[in-house]
């Protein structure tokens, strides 16, 4: 009997390897949670003041890394998807999902972390620099809140760190001289952190190199994956709601309403969505929210066509008429009688839609119209890399490859689901 690798194997493997690699961080996050809840009980208003997005993000990823493998192991017989055998597509999708959930644990740095740009900018992949640690003024923690703030500083990676300096080398005579690429910094000797009489020097590795501001591309890729997936999710949900409700609205009563909605849909279909998207972003400005909204509003047309066609053919079927005679409300008719039947084409359409939304977001960021300036985004990374093509090929290659693999996996997933629901179809 041959043992095949299943999906749940990969999920648990990723979680456990992350847990082993980042065990220090996970333990710190849990102790931070403990302190946080202590403060929350003791002084509610001060604890609330400490909450921000990254804190919740770290909390969730630390909890998830325990819950997900346990849950998957227990539920693997109940939920069939986990017992499917692993292939290229599902492997890629699981890795992307892991990036999405565990971004703070997977990434080495804050995506916007930059320090000593002269030393770290445009470093090739797998390069490293020396990190010289400075002495930090440590106040003894007087109360719980101080302890919370101190722990939070330790755990959550910030966009800068005062206590380290990236450098090539260090020489200590009467003063400490730190040599960087084009400059040197002279500091008093006692500013540098010593352990056992020697200065503390570690190495910082940049797995995929750095960009023009000295930011770690690997960390940016992971947070970029998160933004891409989040935008995709948001706008696909908007398209789903719009497409299904409008399709039902047009197909069920028919007649005049149907004609009007269909004509408007034809108008949207006859026109490439990207022009609308660009016009709206130009007029209303480009925040994360508008990008999600606009991409969601530009993708509901094909879903509408599917739902409308199915509803028109279904409403003449006997089971539907009898359900209507039995007195089901319109909402129940939609959710109980129609949705289960049209689920297959809708799901396939959504998966393809997801891929095209990720592509559209990357293209918008590439053109400078997306969220690229606020968040790390694959499209914006490629756009930035285009200016440094002759010096730093890695700035373009890694986000480009990520985007390509993601789209390839999304297309493949769509095709596989199509094949699953409709096996007569040839691949």
């Amino acid at each position: 009997m041959t043992m095949r690798i299943k999906i749940w194997h990969q999920i648990t493997a990723i979680c456990f390897s992350l847990l082993v690699l980042k065990v220090n961080l996970v333990i710190k996050i849990f102790s931070l949670q403990l302190v946080f809840f202590n403060v929350l009980v003791a002084d509610y208003s001060k604890a609330i003041y400490q909450i921000d997005f990254s804190l919740i993000d770290y909390f969730i990823s630390a909890i998830m890394i325990i819950i997900i493998p346990v849950g998957v192991i227990f539920l693997r017989r109940r939920i069939k998807v986990f017992s499917l055998s692993l292939n290229f597509t599902s492997a890629i999708i699981i890795i992307l999902a892991a990036f999405f959930v565990f971004a703070p644990l997977v990434a080495n740095n804050n995506p916007d972390f930059q320090q000593n740009i002269g030393e770290t900018k445009l470093l090739p992949p797998l390069s490293s620099v020396e990190v010289i640690h400075l002495k930090r003024e440590v106040k003894p923690a007087q109360n719980l809140l101080d302890k919370l703030v101190k722990l939070k500083e330790e755990v959550i990676k910030n966009t800068y760190d005062e206590s380290i300096i990236f450098a090539d080398s260090l020489s200590i005579s009467s003063n400490a001289t730190i040599f960087q690429k084009n400059s040197q910094i002279i500091l008093p000797k006692d500013r540098i952190l010593y352990s056992d009489g020697l200065p503390v020097i570690t190495r910082e590795y940049f797995l995929l190199g750095t960009d023009e501001y000295g930011r770690d591309i690997y960390s940016r890729l992971i947070y970029g994956a998160r933004i891409s997936l989040f935008i995709g999710l948001g706008s696909v949900i908007i398209s789903l709601l719009l497409g299904v409700s409008l399709g039902f609205l047009a197909g069920y009563p028919g007649g005049f309403i149907d004609t009007i909605i269909s004509r408007v849909t034809d108008m949207f279909l006859s026109f490439p969505a990207i022009f609308f998207v660009i016009l709206i972003l130009a007029l209303f400005g480009n925040s994360l929210f508008t990008v999600i909204l606009v991409l969601g509003f530009s993708g509901w047309m094909s879903l509408f066509k599917i739902v409308r066609g199915e509803v028109i053919s279904l409403k003449q079927k006997d089971f539907f008429i009898s359900a209507k005679m039995a007195g089901l409300s319109n909402y129940n008719l939609l959710t109980k009688e129609i949705l289960p039947i049209i689920l297959a084409p809708v799901v396939v359409n959504l998966v393809f839609q997801y891929g095209s939304v990720i592509l559209a977001e990357a293209a918008l960021s590439f053109l400078g119209l997306g969220t690229g300036s606020f968040y790390p985004s694959w499209g914006a990374m490629i756009e930035a890399g285009q200016n440094y093509l002759t010096q730093a090929w890695w700035m373009v290659v890694s986000p480009g490859l990520c985007l390509f693999i993601t789209l390839f996996a999304a297309n493949n997933l769509g095709r596989e689901i199509q094949l699953y629901y409709n096996p007569r179809l040839k691949g």
């Binding site: 006859s270 660009i278 016009l279 007029l283 590439f366 490629i382 480009g400 789209l407 390839f408």
Partner: protein
Amino acid sequence: MKKEILQLLFKRILTSLIVLFLLISFIFFLLRISPGDPSLKFVSPDLSPKLASKIRDSFNLNSSLISQYKQFIINLIQGNFGVSYTYRIPVISVIKDFLPFTLIFSSISFLIQIFVGFLLALISVRRINGVFDKTVLRLSLIAYAIPSFVLGVSLILVFSSMLNVVPSSGLSSFDAGSFSFFAKISDYIIHLILPVVTLSLSGVAVYYKYLRQNLEEVYDNSFVLSLRANGFTEKEIIRKHVLPNAINPLISVAGVELGILFSGALVTEVIFGLPGMGRLTVNAILSRDYPLVVGCTVISGVLVILSNLAADLIKIRFNKRLIKGMLN
């Protein structure tokens, strides 16, 4: 039959006009509800007072909303989009300079897409599931998934930056003015190789996939077997009997692809710095040049609507049975 064709033509042109009307109304609606002073969407604060008041009058900006709407539609139909902020000349004459390039560029790419896709499908259908067929099928899936800007930038990286065989941007060399006629043509060709490849690759994959599938389906029919039994050569069967049957769905795909082509050209022009509509649009947006943005959107919309119309007409030309279905 002729009466029906005329009727259909009339109906299609009418629906196209309605779509155009909806498009213009939608743009006006967007301009009005977007944040900021709506009159600033037509008049640049940098313009001279005389010119500004002239534009104000031509768009009825001082009178009621209804008459503004009416004037907006009339102006757009007449081709009066106002004065561009950055170029300081009427929008329509800016677009006139940039439009021909996009049209030529898109049509070159369109022809290449159809031709190459057709050729590949024909070769691979000769031996279904052969080595060539399988490789090209895999490659077409990959080619379909590559975003055009990733492809464009990687092509520049490999061919311009590393191998240094073709220029990375622009349409002609800086000293092209002194070239002879043929040297100029070859200069254009060298500059356009990478853009055309970038724009065409995903389209080639789409045509290849559709045509291959259709050819395979037609091949499975029993009439092919009967022809073969009657002693026709494979070549004759393909050319005279299989191809005409398989080509119909391709035309409807081509109609849809033509619309997508314009948006694809947008990204490609930006990557390679080509003087076309796409780059004009993006630059207009980045510099908040609202009259130019509206002009570009309307003109691109008209182009897409026209190409859809043309695709429908060509479809009817090849398959007269479709007329009845389209009339209803």
